[in-house]
């Protein structure tokens, strides 16, 4: 993946990363109509399309930060695939009977498919981390929050009244515990490509 050339549409990813209103606006103007159309033709409506698009942009934003997302295909194809997947998943989950899904053949190229697949996995992984974090003990939650907010471990140690060495050790053990919980989750197995 790292060998591939970065597509010029990477500017959309950078724009989202920086919360640039111009970029967000132009994503809506250029790419939303196709998604709205698709959802409307497949048992949805405008409100649903609004949610799907918003969630998809949020996903891309998170991955731009967490995974340093690099676009190797046109944004259009990537964005549409992600929205489409999200919508089909929603239909599956909500168990709407009598749904006819117009699955068209994809001609977006392998790069887009591959990247969209990877993004979907990463999104599920993000959700799994989120769920497991909530399961951690309060002491670990507090320490991790302080660690990543304050940055300097000396200050963290001081703020919770422990020694520097203890705070550091505890931090790695808490992350370790989170790692273990994630790995033990039944969902974890589905997250490996």
């Amino acid at each position: 993946m790292s060998q591939k050339r970065i597509h010029e549409d990477q500017k959309y990813i950078e724009g989202l990363k920086q919360n640039n209103s111009f970029v967000i606006q132009s994503i809506y103007e250029k790419f939303a109509p196709k998604v709205i159309n698709y959802i409307k033709q497949n048992s949805g409506d405008e409100d649903k399309a609004k949610d799907v698009i918003q969630e998809t942009i949020m996903t891309i934003y998170n991955q731009a930060h967490e995974k340093n997302l690099k676009l190797t295909c046109p944004f259009d194809a990537y964005f549409f695939l992600l929205c489409k997947r999200k919508w089909l998943n929603y239909l599956k989950k909500s168990d709407i009977t009598g749904v006819t899904i117009n699955e068209e053949l994809l001609s977006d190229g392998d790069d887009a498919l591959e990247l969209a697949f990877e993004t979907t996995l990463n999104e599920q992984q993000h959700e799994l981390f989120e769920d497991m974090f909530q399961e951690l003990g309060q002491a670990c939650k507090d320490l991790l929050k302080a660690t990543f907010k304050i940055k300097s471990m000396e200050e963290v140690a001081e703020s919770i009244g422990v020694t520097y060495a203890y705070a550091r050790k505890k931090k790695s053990l808490c992350i370790g515990q989170l790692t273990k919980m994630v790995q033990a989750s039944p969902k974890y197995q589905h997250l490996k490509p």
Binding site: F22, I24, Y28, K50, E66, F133, T147, F148
Partner: protein
Amino acid sequence: MQEKDFILFDDYLSGSLDAESIQAFENRLKADADFNLAFNDYQQAEAFLEHKFKNEEQNQRFKENLERISSGYFKKEVSGKAKVRRINPWYYSVAAGVILLFGVVIAQQFSSPAYDDFANYGTISLTVRGSENDLQNNAEKAFNNKDYKDAEKYLTQLLQKDQGNLELQLYKAVSLVELNNYEEADVLYQNVIQSPSVYSNKAKWYLALSKLKQKEKSESITVLKSIPEDADDFESAQKLLKKLE
């Protein structure tokens, strides 16, 4: 994995191992698949936490901005659709006549394009949760209400605290153009244009509009020609260019 493994991960990542231990660690990564997987997941957990907490306020701001733009977009979509009504065929001939008449009038007007036809700066959003709320709020409100005198004043105050902020510089330049203070505006535009930022192309388009307002046709053309094809305003720029040339 055991506790000591996680402590080892942290030592490795924070660079507190000596050369020999680093070598041993990396060898183990190659030889022990479980260890490798755990280390990988440990790093992902760290990236997740970093984004979640370090960027907490930034993430919240993004969410709010996204919500605002999304609602604005869909409102437009809905109201655009609502206007579609069935028209009595008889009206078409009347409409055609009216359009023809308008066409003549517009064609005359557009022979020299007016600044007001192209200057559409939209609305801006600066509001951030936190202490500077008031000033940002005021600047945003003034700008969006087209009260450029106040907008310029507030943006200047904001820039005093955050000199390098290109987004603020861009909005201030727009306000200055509206106040006919071109010289100062052009300096700001040039500054933004020269930055490797996402605002660079926007600034080119606005600078071209500023030149248009100053009736400096050839300068406007030069700037318009420098707007690349992938810029958001490329089409508008081409439209204006056609009318100017």
